[in-house]
Symmetry: C2
């Protein structure tokens, strides 16, 4: 029986990052990674397969990163864990012994029990090359595409499928706006305007009651009785933690929230760690369970695991949630809580906004505006969230705001924060958005 | 005699930002801004006048920002201050009374006493529209341009003048590399390679001993005797604080370092504040005098002044220095200390590097690499500096690193820092540069 010092189950963002980090901390360890997929997709890149990138083969995490880090790769599926003997058994009947094990089993797309969901050409976003090739093929002949879910994945699919020339793209969203979990209403409205300019139809406050068709989908029926033609239907309504293996092996698991982990990312068994979409997470702001599932949170957790396996070094951080996306030529970033979310959580908030050309002078070719909205807690003046939209640097600016949130900076500290500026790379120092938005908020407190 | 609640002297980045901030904190104050320039140039945009932007008129700070904030503008030059009576007298013989005054008199280009510096077509970088129009005119006929100083301004002039088609552009730098005050050697070498690709000649370890010519410059003579043809010579070797008015009015001033200010940006007179290039500054890392002069530091100080005029609210931060620039298609950002600078200051340092495609998958059109180098103090693990180069987001990433430096984050904290990632906007979460560079450094400590 082969024995590994470190056995990682799962080969996506969290699994690979665990391997890379573990190698840095434990240069001599024998590291083994078992995954069931022959090839691993870049998870966040999946919608881009259908437009910009063109095929699943061009959206793969190269295995060379494992080889380079001297990580042995086994393509097989772990079917059971024996915690006492510290062994695992695979689908192909192989056994492996471990010193420390890491569960990085990820998440599965949520498939709601809508009547007709089993029809052909109804697709969830499975992270599987062959499956996505089938989606691609179905889309090749599609004229009418319907997407359930107006979150990031849903809108990215819509935008990319429009790029590939699908005539009618309709997004159906349960909430009053698209992206409402990550952005405040006024920003959602801008996104919806951009979608409409791109020829994408959005129906909000609507639920799909049934998927109709004979063998393959023909229509979806909404809660108001409206029927919409659909050659292809994509479900983009979130993911659920993949915890079956952890459950079966008797680890502490909350089926909805994920595998229990402590601050050091240890499961209820001291030799088993977990990282990524499969773990339970607590909100940075409220300490309550959060359903945030982001590759960037998974890799952060993986870096904690990689360091801690044989000696505790790092504590995991509760997720604040930092997002970015692009719709047409409009980039959007969001970090922490929206104004709406903060109010719903019970905070008294003050907001500040600032918008400016993102190069200076604005006469520089390619100059576009970038707007920032910051959300502060009134009493403590602490930053709770920020949203950014406009030019393509929105994602990086969201990360800057994310840094300020994580360090719990106050509005008065942000006002005097130092940033660098440059004509071709940023707004002018006079109108630089983050400090100005903070000053606007501060003088309202 | 007209009386202002707040009288600001100087109308560039610090003066205007003071006015905007003061208006936010003191909505009813009468604010008056006196400046000598009819039109105000965007200071960092000056090199871009000569290529990308095309003329000084397209590189102006619009006066509308003053009008919008109900700030009265007087174009005149203050020639004396009476601190006891709280009045100023102008060149045109006008008198103004003030409650609080702000000196934002900026800096002047350093003009070294090289023989021949008075010849025609030898230009320093004066922030003056008419002067720069003269430079533009001289460059129109130039075939041989020599620039003294391989810092940001010098290289930006070189790159922009190459864009406008000047045949021979030569940069002369005293130190062993260009940009050596902001970047470590290996990054300077990349910049020099890019300059060379762009047809710009760089001579390092060289001083100009004399400027030769009859009425107008014809040659510069270097310390090794070499003569270089020059139709136009530009001096890009730094700025000195403009403190004459402060000196004349008996305020505490260090002529080399600037006007003395306390933490609240008050001068030695309690009714007079100062902000921007004209003030004395202390290094964030060592507490020693620093000659950093950046518009973004000036606006930070101005926001402190604007808030504090009638009630102390904010403390000014010691500058860390955050820079960005672009040479050809290579963007460079730098925050805090370089490795070299940190060692010279007496720190024992550990560095970490990480490079990755700045979109993911790398098959997305327009993907380019972005590399990050971080410099940590070995004992405390605290981040001292970071450099970024490659794709056009380098400036924003330098700001992110700047945030981590200002909050004195340790390598082990940065490893578990949360960032957002997105295929079109950032590197992959697995290879995201800042956390990976921190992890590389950490595992070397």
């Amino acid at each position: 029986m082969e024995k590994a010092d470190i056995l990682i189950i799962g080969g996506s963002a969290a699994g690979i990052t665990t391997a890379i980090s573990a190698r840095r901390y434990y240069p001599d360890a024998k590291i083994l990674l078992i995954r069931k997929e022959k090839e691993v997709l870049i998870p966040c890149g999946i919608p881009y397969i259908f437009g910009t990138v063109g095929s699943p083969d061009k959206n793969l995490i190269p295995d060379s990163v494992l080889g380079k880090n001297n990580v042995e790769l086994i393509i097989d599926k772990v079917v059971s864990i024996n915690k006492e003997r510290r062994t695992v058994e695979t689908f192909n009947g192989r056994f492996f012994e471990y010193e420390k094990m890491v569960l990085a089993t990820g998440s599965l797309p949520h498939v709601p029990p809508i009547p007709g969901v089993e029809l052909d050409n109804v697709f969830a976003v499975w992270k599987d090359v062959e499956y996505l090739q089938k989606v691609l093929k179905a889309l090749d002949k599609a004229k009418d595409l319907v997407i359930i879910g107006g979150g990031f994945i849903g809108l990215e699919f819509a935008d990319e499928c429009k790029k590939r020339g699908i005539a009618n793209v309709t997004v159906i969203e349960l909430l009053p706006h698209c992206l409402l979990l990550a952005c405040d209403e006024e920003i959602c409205v801008r996104v919806e305007k951009k979608l409409s300019e791109r020829g994408i139809k959005v129906l909000v406050n609507r639920m799909v009651e049934a998927i109709l068709g004979n063998k393959k989908v023909d229509y979806v029926e909404l809660d108001n009785g409206q029927k919409i033609k659909a050659d292809v239907l994509i479900l983009g309504i979130g993911a659920i933690p993949n915890v079956q293996l952890a459950l079966d092996s008797g680890l502490e698991v909350n089926e909805k929230e994920g595998i229990y982990v402590d601050e050091f990312m240890r499961t209820s068994n001291k030799n088993i760690f977990a990282a990524g979409d499969c773990t339970q997470k607590r909100c940075f702001f409220t300490g309550r369970p959060t359903f945030l599932r982001l590759a960037s949170i998974g890799t952060m957790e993986a870096r904690v695991v990689g360091a801690n396996l044989f000696r505790l070094r790092h504590r995991s951080e509760c997720p604040i949630g930092v997002f970015g996306t692009v719709i047409g030529d409009l980039a959007i970033g969001s970090a922490g809580m929206t104004e709406r979310e903060a109010k719903e959580a019970g905070f008294e908030v003050v907001t500040g906004e600032a918008e400016a050309p993102d190069k200076h002078p604005a006469s520089i070719p390619g100059t576009r505006n970038l707007a920032v909205k910051l959300v502060f807690e009134r009493d403590t003046r602490v930053l709770l969230g920020g949203q950014v939209y406009g030019s393509m640097t929105a994602g990086k600016v969201a990360n800057f705001i994310g840094a300020l949130i994580q360090r719990r900076l106050r509005a008065d500290e942000i006002v005097t924060f130092q940033v660098g500026t440059h004509p071709l790379l940023t707004a002018s120092p006079i109108s630089h958005q983050v400090e100005n938005a903070a000053e606007v908020a501060l003088t309202k407190m």
